[in-house]
């Protein structure tokens, strides 16, 4: 307990504890998971046949790679796969054995750690294909280090994207402005830089892969991304206004995130559409994920990939349903951009993508707005236990508490199960619900 709500440091759990995946109900989530596995095997086959493969940061402009038909894998997505297969402790142990401290950023280094395994036969999904390009977004000082290690260990050429700073965060309601009014929302000089960075990326890819960017194709991809994200907005709005909630984040996260990793593809638009229609049908039929819903909860922070069953644990006893995570909400509010110039419009997507998620005051204003929209009664805030990603937890929590939403702050790691004590966390969160919410 600290002066800013609950802060729980995690002792290590017993060595034989294994997390569990939450039980999915939506066909769109099941379909997306199946598609992802097949897509990944396809990537592996293409790379084995001699094609290049890029490892990209979650907030690097993947649309360019799609337009150039260059296979790519998102660094943090692969970390989530490794973690959900309970392999993170083993891989991170290999990093530690090389002299890297155990509390360095696990989320962003797990993919690199997985390449150190001398016996890749145990790797999830057959393991990463051979990575031939690296495109990090320099969201923190560790990114350049980690991708530099890819370069040193595997000879992977790197093209980094700088992260410029929004100095004047006004107006606060960025989510109402960024679809069309992005030129005034973000400073033009920052957009100018990002356009130049994108041009540099195109040249880098053209030189390293021998493929050429088609602007016509890029324009089409930009349209498809907007179409996809408008479906995400419809879904978010529908879940927000429906009580009891038709689904929880156990379904919404895979249903939105797997298409997000394929944004700009026809499949992704169809998947987002199917997700929306499935939720709409559930609402029309009056189906609820928890008929006894009493407390609508929001999960702030990254997914707890090794133990998504935690999200469902509080439904039966407390009627506590996690209806909100940033994954669907950011798809709804963070990505769509409309404009005539595809490169500048793409620049407008990435210049400030995570400001609304991670940097006060924009993130705090958005979380409060989303809490109100979704009729949230309480929030869990997963703050990273390593030094990766500081979203200004004090300011986010204060804004929510000031808006009447109690916050339970957990300090832990979202991919490294070694830091998680499930029994203790379940007990503490139950106490929180009983003392501060019910």
């Amino acid at each position: 307990m600290t002066g800013r709500g609950f802060l729980v440091s995690q002792p290590s759990t017993s060595s034989n504890w294994r997390g569990k995946s939450g039980a999915k109900q939506l066909q769109s989530a099941i379909n997306a998971a199946a598609f992802q596995k097949e897509w990944f095997q396809q990537i592996r086959r293409r790379v084995e046949a001699g094609e290049p493969c890029a490892l990209v940061g979650a907030d690097a402009p993947q649309e360019i790679l799609r337009a150039m038909d260059i296979p790519y894998i998102v660094n943090q997505w692969w970390a989530s796969v490794v973690s959900s297969r309970q392999q993170a402790p083993r891989y991170l142990g290999l990093m530690n054995a090389r002299g890297y401290q155990p509390d360095l950023c696990a989320y962003c280094s797990l993919a690199f750690a997985s390449t150190l395994d001398p016996d890749p036969t145990n790797a999830p999904w057959g393991g990463l294909p051979k990575i031939s390009l690296g495109i990090p977004d320099l969201a923190c000082d560790s990114q350049m280090k980690i991708f530099g290690l890819w370069n040193q260990e595997h000879g992977v050429p790197i093209y980094p994207f700088e992260r410029t700073m929004l100095v004047d965060p006004s107006p606060m309601n960025w989510w109402d402005k960024n679809r069309h009014d992005w030129e005034e929302l973000y400073q033009p000089y920052r957009l100018d830089l990002m356009v130049e960075e994108l041009k540099g990326l195109v040249t880098f890819l053209e030189v390293t892969t021998g493929r050429t960017l088609s602007e016509t194709k890029l324009k089409r991809i930009m349209d498809l991304v907007n179409e996809q994200e408008e479906y995400s907005k419809l879904t978010r709005d529908l879940i927000a206004e429906t009580v009891p909630a038709p689904i929880s984040i156990v379904d919404s996260i895979p249903s939105v995130m797997i298409p997000q990793w394929h944004r700009g593809a026809e499949w992704a638009v169809n998947a987002a559409k199917m997700f929306y229609e499935e939720v709409k049908d559930k609402v029309a039929r009056g189906e609820a994920v928890c008929a006894n819903e009493k407390i609508r909860l929001m999960w702030i922070g990254r997914g707890l990939w090794f133990n998504t069953s935690f999200y469902q644990h509080f439904q039966e006893k407390y009627g506590g349903v996690f209806v909100w995570s940033f994954y669907l909400a950011l798809a709804a509010d963070g990505y769509a951009r409309y404009g005539d110039d595809p490169l500048r419009t793409l620049a407008a997507r990435y210049t400030n993508l995570t400001e609304g998620l991670n940097v006060p005051p924009w993130n705090a204003a958005w979380y409060v707005n989303e809490a109100k929209r979704n009729k949230i009664r309480a929030a869990v805030h997963l703050a990273s236990s390593d030094n990766c990603l500081d979203r200004g937890a004090y300011f986010v929590n204060k804004a929510l508490e000031d808006a009447g939403i109690p916050v339970f702050e957990i300090e832990s790691n979202n991919v490294d199960s070694r830091t998680w004590n499930d029994e203790e966390m379940t007990k503490r969160f139950s106490e929180f619900l009983e003392t501060r919410v019910l």
């Binding site: 700073m165 005051p361 004090y394």
Partner: protein, 387 residues
């Protein structure tokens, strides 16, 4: 503004005066202000002092304070927040820097960006008058030409901001003069670095010589260092195992004091509070603003904004140039970037026969240092055995 009058009528040696200003970091700035001058604090190693000087300000580099608790910052920051930045934020909130007329914060490290974000938000939701007026100076570090151009534009923006603060334009002559005096300072400190390689100045004394260059009028500092160098032939070589320090960028000398009490001498370091503070000159043959931007863009790679490979190359080269027998990694708890560099730096150094000692998860405050001292003594003795 004239240089400080404190120099007159004092029996203190140049080194003692430098040490005094190292201990009392705000001393000279407060004297400057008492005589009617304005003081601009700066946070981060990328803020160009030349511009602040040319605008007529006293540039004062912001530091933490290891011996003070951090209750004001603790309220806002995460448990794992960089402890040095935590201390700095605390001092910006506890009134230590209330006397500053303005503050410039650069994105030299992720931690300084966070300090900026925290300050901005604290000022927004808890209106307070004791936080100085501040400006964010953005500087890109990846080595692309477009970033160099972007930086030149940001330096021009900073110039405009300083002109707004001072109420008068910065002349080209003032800029060139400021560059000249800062370059002279760097050249003098390079001579100090050479004396360290000859073991004639200790690491503790070196920090006390270098540190005030970021907290004294440059002309005054130049004068003191010149006087000190003038008598350099009287400095006898010191015995001790020759060590190089790498890792977190310590703004205080307590760790050096412990190391050098163990029979070692720190002959150089990879720190922007040490030798990296003066390792690159501003080109005086090109347009001054461009030269200032380029100096920071092309200077030695910092632990925060460079790849592991760049850091390995730099660290090994500097350790070898200093003829170091051993290297100590001092890694603050909660500061990841230098910890990422460590394993490869260690391998590269040891492959050249340079022994290493890693002190990781270190506190910013000295506290009980007996265990730390024992580890260093054991390591130094090992080097002695080799000799």
């Amino acid at each position: 503004m004239e240089a400080g009058s404190w120099r007159r009528n004092t029996e203190l040696s140049p080194l003692d005066l430098l040490k005094l200003n190292y201990r009392e970091r705000e001393r000279a700035a407060r004297e400057w202000q008492a005589r009617g001058g304005q003081v601009v604090g700066y946070l981060g190693a990328d803020v160009p002092e030349e511009l602040l000087i040319a605008a007529g300000f006293f540039p004062l580099r912001i530091t933490g304070d290891p011996v003070s608790l951090t209750p004001f910052a603790d309220k806002y920051v995460q448990r794992h927040f960089n402890p040095q930045a935590r201390s700095i934020l605390n001092r910006l909130l506890d009134g230590t820097y209330r006397f500053l007329d303005h503050l410039v914060i650069a994105n030299s490290a992720e931690a300084t960006v966070r300090v900026f974000v925290y300050l901005r938000e604290i000022k927004r939701i808890e209106p307070r008058r004791d936080i100085p007026d501040f400006y964010f100076f953005e500087f890109l570090h990846t080595k692309f030409h477009r970033n160099a151009q972007y930086n030149r534009d940001r330096v021009r923006d900073l110039k405009k901001q300083l002109e707004t603060w001072s109420g008068k334009p910065i002349s080209d002559v003032a800029l060139r003069d400021a560059i000249a005096v800062c370059n002279e300072n760097r050249k003098l400190l390079a001579q100090v670095a050479q004396l360290r390689i000859e073991s004639r100045i200790s690491g503790v004394d070196a920090l006390a010589i270098i540190g005030p260059s970021m907290g004294m009028p440059k002309n005054d500092h130049n004068k003191l260092v010149r006087e000190l160098l003038h008598h350099a032939d009287q400095l006898a070589p010191r015995p001790g195992a020759r060590l190089f320090i790498v890792g977190s960028q310590l703004d205080r000398a307590w760790f050096y004091e412990i190391v050098e009490s163990c029979g070692a001498i720190i002959v150089a370091e990879d720190s922007d509070w040490g030798n990296r503070a003066f390792d690159t000159l501003v080109d005086q043959t090109i347009a001054p603003l461009d030269a200032i931007a380029d100096r920071h863009f092309f200077k030695a790679p910092s632990p925060y904004k460079s790849t592991v490979q760049e850091r390995v190359e730099y660290c090994v080269r500097k350790a070898v140039e200093a003829n170091a027998e051993g290297v100590i990694f001092f890694l603050l708890n909660g500061e990841d970037p230098p910890a990422w560099d460590y394993p490869e730096q260690k391998r590269a150094l040891e492959s050249r026969g340079i022994r290493t000692l890693c002190l990781d998860h270190q506190a910013y405050a000295p506290g009980d240092t007996s265990e730390l001292k024992a580890r260093i003594e054991a390591s130094v003795q090992t080097l002695g055995t080799r000799q």
